[in-house]
């Protein structure tokens, strides 16, 4: 499963991250690298620091945002 470790890190650190709700966190493995105002800002640092190796960017939210599709798409599960 891609980004499994990073997803676990996000969930483990979420209570601490919630102080920055609305911003975007950059995670690499077990490390929370930083928190950024925008999605492009977090990606930019991710690519600068980790190049083409996997990293994870996620918006911090009290309630995880869910995307809705009225069309039944075949979701590629992680």
């Amino acid at each position: 499963m891609p980004l499994e470790k990073e997803q676990e890190t996000f969930e483990r650190e979420l209570s601490r991250l919630l102080a920055s709700a609305g911003k975007f966190v950059l995670i690499h493995g077990d490390d929370v690298t930083g928190i950024y105002d925008t999605y492009p800002d977090a990606l930019k640092v991710g690519y600068e620091r980790y190049g083409l190796t996997p990293f994870f960017v996620k918006q911090i939210a009290v309630v995880n945002r869910t995307n809705h599709f009225t069309r039944d798409i075949a979701a590629c599960r992680t």
């Binding site: 891609p2 869910t66 995307n67 599709f69 009225t70 798409i73």
Partner: protein
Amino acid sequence: MPHLTLPISSAGCSLDVYVGGSDPRRDALRVANLAIPPLIAARMIIDTGASCTAIQETILKSLGLTPTGTSQILTPSSKGAPITCATYDVLLSVYHEKHPLVLGTVAVIGSDFSGQGIDGLIGRDVLQECLMIYDGTAGTFSLAF
């Protein structure tokens, strides 16, 4: 305001967009002296029932992209239980001969649209950058950006 007016097809409001790695990814490839894959044309339909954009995952993989996030989605068959999906950071460009709409960093969901005659759905995350008019009586739709 640049705009396109296109016919409404049997699939709906379909149009070609160009997909590539996001601006930050393209910068990283330049720094690493690696080739930047050319943009790939994708036949998309506009879906106002999609809160975000989804693209055929094989296109994303052929661009050498790997997931950089996850997103929870609800579909009619998920029966109220969100599914966690991989997201990819891409550049999306809607063709216009003089003023294309270029979104340099968009998070999209990878999905499988095989056999549907389309390569993906343009969701409301992209539509929020546009004005869309659906003219059913004329059989056309217009997109201004």
